[in-house]
Symmetry: C2
Subunit: 142 residues, 2 copies
DNA sequence: ATGATATTGAAAATTATTAGCATGTGGTTT
DNA sequence: AAACCACATGCTAATAATTTTCAATATCAT
């Protein structure tokens, strides 16, 4: 899925929903598409400010919210601190460094048939969190 | 693993680390051991206050922190709001209601050999998050 | 029992996020 | 192209979650 294509889809989705195409909105989505490290709102804000110093943090918060509602980004599970966002909305799993908190996408499939119901819950999908130590933190250990 | 036993282990661990055995500390761990709904710090605080009205919220925050450092509880992945804690530290998975946020432990094993390394990360363990709709929220849907 | 030291409670300080409101801007209409 | 209107934005204040500070207190080894 090319970045250009996703942006076009986003523009269409905005038009369909009566949302306006603003430079701020585009900038936020572009930053998210260009990164695979699951940035926080603050991270996105800092990156955007370099190019467009006029944006406000509140707008970035609002924009990631709408991006999520439209299904173009997902929140990533975390343990405190700030929410992190992921523009990769296809099914994938996460490799998480227990030391520094780095989160890396991993694409693989498990031989597992997800049941339709579990403990009375209607099951939609799942994701695997793999905890470990990233290369950088392994070095620091020794 | 009996509750009594775990408490004894916790007391030993505290002694080994030079930490004092205080009623507050015990109360926090007891509440966590008695619940399987992954309470927030606020939840724990409210439950403790019934028995011991003297405890302060800050102490509960401090205590869950030390409990985690000693490995007696774990933080549960979440998406905003407050951190939730789990005194079940054995390997298990989570069934999460996307509507109300309820988290239920599920015990099952996947036929999957966890590799020792992935993408350069040294792998320790993993947990599966299964997203769905809890029985109560299914009712509200219809 | 006493003293050294860790712990606690209460309040202030931080951090993360949301909301309110006046102004500005896309995009549609004329 | 000018005008209009609804949605967006920026700024600030408000809220929520958590951490820190510090004086007072309690635990535990002696």
């Amino acid at each position: 899925m090319l970045k250009e294509e996703r942006i076009k889809e986003f523009i269409d989705a905005c038009k369909n929903m009566g949302l306006k195409i603003t430079p701020q909105r585009m900038a936020v989505y572009e930053v998210l598409l260009s990164r695979d490290d699951h940035p926080t709102v603050e991270d996105i804000y800092n990156e955007i400010k370099k190019k467009y110093p006029f944006v406000s943090l509140a707008t970035v918060y609002r924009t990631v919210e709408t991006l999520e509602e439209l299904g173009f980004v997902k929140k990533v599970a975390y343990w405190g601190g700030s929410v992190r966002y992921d523009a990769n909305v296809s099914d994938h799993h996460h490799l998480i460094c227990v030391q520094c908190g780095a989160i890396k996408d991993v694409e693989f499939s498990i031989d597992w048939n997800l049941p339709q119901y579990m403990e009375g819950y209607k099951v939609y999908n799942y994701s695997v969190h793999i905890y470990g130590l990233c290369p950088q933190c392994q070095q620091k250990e020794s």
